[in-house]
Each structure stands twice: as C-alpha cells, then as structure tokens.
Amino acid sequence: METKTIEEIEDEITEEFGFFSDWQDKYEYIIELGKKLKGFPEDKRTDDNKVKGCQSSVWLTTGIENGLIIFKSDSDSVIVKGLIALLIRVLSGRSPEEIINAKLEFIDKIGLKQHLAGTRTNGLAAMIKQMKMYAMAYKAKEQLEHKI
C-alpha cells in the first residue's frame, strides 16, 4: 500500500474542516478527535515529557520504528488533545527528514493559526517545535551512526 505524503494528509484535513461553516462546529470536531485520542501510558505523564504551555499541559513521547518516528501525546485540555491528534496524524510514522521539512500549512488553512497557534496559552507552537527538535536529534544521531 502506497503511504500518503504529509501534504496529502494535510489536504485531507483541510478538506474535512471545509465542511464546517462556523467555529463552534470546527471545535466540536476537534473535541471529538481529542476524546478519541487514547493510549498515552500513564507512567509517561512526567515533568520530563511535559511541553510547557501557560494554560494547559501537554505530554509528548517519541519512539523509532524502522527509521520512522512515532509520537505519542496527551493533554489535560480536550481541545489541545484534538489538535495533537491532528499533528500526530500528519507527523507520526514519518522519517526525521519528512518531519523537519513539514510546513504544516493546514494549521493556517483551517484558520487555527490565528485562533490558537499564535498564543502562548496552549503550547501548540511549543509542541510543534518539540516534534521537530526530536526529528533533528534523530537525524543527527543517524548521521553519526552512519559515519561510524
């Protein structure tokens, strides 16, 4: 099975959000996604895994399978959790290279940048940064191993 590219997934999300005419409906959908996002290991809810946001906490862990980075994440805010679900759908299971180069234009296209990503309140911007940092760290590690 051919895997979809990051851009294709982003387009899918943009299209899904195109169905909603008002913000309340968009958020209801995000909340629904948040409620469905489960399976974050309780013992990983530690300060080390915390991404700092002013009004909500986000926990993020990473693993690597066959050279692809797997993200797992959780939040005490169900809306932030919904946003996390979108980010995971786009970025999890991708190579470090793909994650580093991801432009994540869907956030702007569905209007969330203006609403959420620009503020320090929810840690979304901090989380994206953290995901990219992990990808960079894995890439650097890979390069180092290849040299050896």
Binding site: D22, W23, Q24, I31, Q55, S56, S77, V78
Partner: protein
C-alpha cells in the same frame, strides 16, 4: 430576586451607546465582554478627549511658552487635580502619574524599599496578590536579604486577619496588599489592615487596581500610605496609572528614574531634584493618558460610583445564582464581601477549553492563573475561568453567558 434583577438603576441601553466597541460582533455574534477585570472598554468621551488633545493642543508640557504648550500643561495638571478629588487626597502633589499599577508598585519598591528595607527586615503581602504586588517585593527582599511574609487565605478566599496580626513583628517594615482580589473578587478589609500596621508605625501600600472603579476610595479615610491603580481598568486608556503617596513620605524618597522634568537644576557636578510630584515623573509624561484618565473620572462621576457598584453587585449575584445551577461548577472565591468577579472551574474540564468554547459564542472571559499563580496553587487548581462584570453589562448578557456555558460543558463532557 426578580425585583433585584429587573430594577433599573440606570438606562443600560443608553450607557452601552457610550461604548462603541460594545456595538461590534465577535465571530458573527454580538460581543459579550466579561473580561473587565483585565481591562475595561472606553467610552466615547474618553476616546474623544484623546482625539481632541492630538487634534487641537498637542505639545510637550511644562516647557513651552506658547499657547498650545500652556493648554496641554494645564490639561495635564487638571487631570492630576481630578484624580486627587476622585480619591480625596489632601494635595494634588501626592498624585504621581505612572504607567499603571505595576509601575506604581515598582516605584515604591525601588525608591522607598531600597532606602528603608535592610537585612532581616520583613515585608508582609498576602496569598491573593497579583504577581505585580509579589515580584517587586521578592526582588527587593533578595537584594536586601529581607524576608517576605504571606497572609494566608481561607477556603472562601478571605484573608485570615488573625494570622496577619501574628505576622506583624518589630522586623516588619512594610505591608502591601490588594484592595480587591483580581482572581477571586474578595474585597479585603483594607482599613483594618492599615490601622493594624499603623499601630506599629508600619507603612502600608494598597494595590487598588480592581477597586477604584467599583467602590468609593477615600485615601484619607483609609489612611493608606500608598495607593496604586491603573487607568485602563477604569475606562481610561492603557499606559496611565497612579501612585498616591502621602506627601511626607514621597518627599523623603529618592527618585525612581532620572532625566528631564524631575530636576530643578543640573550641572556636571551636581543635580538638584524637583519637588514632588515632578521628582517621580522623569521625561515626557503620558499627556494623552492623563487627559483620558481625567475624562474617565468625569464619566464615572456622571454615572455615579454608587450606581455602578449597585448594578455590578446585582449582575454578580444573579450570575452566581445561575451558574451554581450548572452541575459540576465550583466557584473559586466565595467571600462574604465580594466585587463583580466570578471565577469558576468545572469538574473534569480544563478552563482553557471553556474559554475557547465561550469565545465561539462571542463571550469573552479570561482563563488561566490570572497572574496569581501562588493563589491557584493554594486552591490546588491549574487555573479558573473568570467572568468579570462592568456597569455596561446586562442581565440579558449574563443569561446569554450561562446558556453558552451550559452548551460548552455539554460539548466538552
């Protein structure tokens, strides 16, 4: 209850027309502005006073010999006089214009604090202080190796006065507490707090940022040594605030910032400082801000502070009754004596989510820690959602808010 809520204290529709921003929509819905404890909206009279200043007599003050500079200087001085009268200070020179409450507190911490606080001295603040009335004292204490003592609160969010009495010691050199808590709405017994400190000759600073536009403040009757507040929370522009200080204290204090206007003569050998209040107003001041603040005071007086308090209390009581009917609601701050701040949490829900969902209905509330992180820690909560009312808010808006909140809770749960 019906009688209370339907009673017309003043004509809400007429008052709302004074505020152009209240006519706008938010996200396609009428704006319901319930974040008045963060900042208030501005009436036309304030907006026009600022416009009028720039259109007709903008000039630097206290320097020019020409007519518009004289007019601007007079307007600035007149604003100071309006503030004096508003808080019933003895003299206009006891009114220092600052950027806001934060700068006013910093001024006292920097000037009075650095002059008078020594190693092992103690400063008393309370557990419900805004960060602006914590951090300046903390920094001062670190620098001087002094200690910060905290008056605790009870479950209702009221100060424990007996504990305060016990905290006062021969080492206490200053008390700094808020008049009204920004995150709980508690009205503190500031007169008692001041008089207890004065028994031991300890000066007191009151942070009045949440109080001056809700209740009549009479600094002489209160007998506070310093009283700080912001213009922007009382319908005036941002960037203007006031430090009231007793003249005899202000006169002995060193300048906070130095530069133009605060000097009486400068040579390379020696500079002589100006008299108060100019000694504490270095540089070109915020003339438009002061004029706007004067216009805001005129506006408040035209409505009447008592009418404002009465209407805001009616809104708070009604909102408190209605919100209590929602399952899982816990009101944070249930003091007997309370101003129009309604802070709450909903069991199992994050305040941020509530704030976002209310915004989709056009309702603006504040969420988070409200710059009172230690207080939130004491209540064991990450933060609250806070609705805060002004006199231009209506019972209909409270109903709309309650419906929007019920809807938000239904979606989020």
């Amino acid at each position: 209850m019906e009688a209370v809520i339907t009673k017309k204290i003043f004509d809400s529709d007429k008052v709302r027309k004074d505020f152009p921003i209240l006519q706008r929509a938010a996200g396609g819905k009428p704006l319901v502005y319930f974040d008045n404890a963060a900042t208030s909206q501005k009436p036309n009279s304030v907006i026009n006073a600022i416009g009028n200043y720039y259109k007709n007599y903008n000039a630097n003050i206290h320097r020019g010999l020409y007519s518009i500079s004289i007019e601007a200087s007079e307007a600035y001085d007149k604003a100071r006089e309006k503030v004096r009268e508003y808080i019933n200070a003895r003299e206009a020179r006891e009114i220092i214009f600052t950027r806001g409450t934060t700068e006013a507190v910093n001024l006292v911490a920097y000037s009075y604090g650095r002059q008078n606080i020594k190693e092992d001295d103690e400063i008393i603040i309370s557990a419900m202080e805004h960060h602006a009335n914590i951090v300046p004292w903390q920094v001062l204490c670190e620098e001087k190796k002094a200690k910060l003592k905290i008056i605790p609160v009870n479950d209702k969010g009221e100060l424990l006065i007996n504990d305060y009495k016990k905290l006062i010691s021969p080492r206490t050199k200053l008390v700094a507490v808020c008049h009204i808590s920004n995150s709980l709405g508690t009205i503190n017994p500031v007169k008692e707090i001041v008089s207890l400190a004065h028994e031991k000759n300890i000066p007191v600073l009151i942070d009045g940022a949440q109080a001056v536009h809700h209740t009549k403040v009479d600094v002489r009757s209160l007998n506070a040594d310093f009283y700080a507040f912001s213009g922007h929370k009382m319908y005036a522009p941002m960037g203007i605030g006031v430090l009231y200080g007793k003249a005899k204290l202000l006169e002995t204090m060193p300048p906070y910032q130095t530069g133009g206007d605060m000097i009486s003569s400068v040579s390379f050998e020696k500079t002589l400082y100006n008299e108060i209040p100019m000694k504490f107003e270095a540089g070109t001041p915020n003339v438009e801000g002061a004029i706007g603040l004067g216009a805001a005071i005129d506006y408040i007086n035209s409505i009447g502070l008592e009418n404002i308090s009465e209407h805001e209390s009616a809104l708070l009581n009604y909102a408190t009754d209605e919100i209590s009917k929602i399952e899982g609601i816990r009101i944070i701050g249930t003091a007997e004596n309370k101003a129009s701040v309604l802070s709450f949490v909903v069991e199992g829900l994050n305040a941020l989510d509530i704030g976002i969902m209310l915004d989709t209905s056009g309702v603006a509330v504040r969420t988070g820690q409200h710059c009172t992180e230690p207080l939130m820690d004491w209540f064991g909560i990450p933060g609250t959602a806070r609705a805060s009312f002004a006199f231009y808010n209506t019972i209909e808006e409270v109903d709309f808010f309650i419906d929007a909140l019920k809807n938000a809770v239904r979606i989020l749960k």
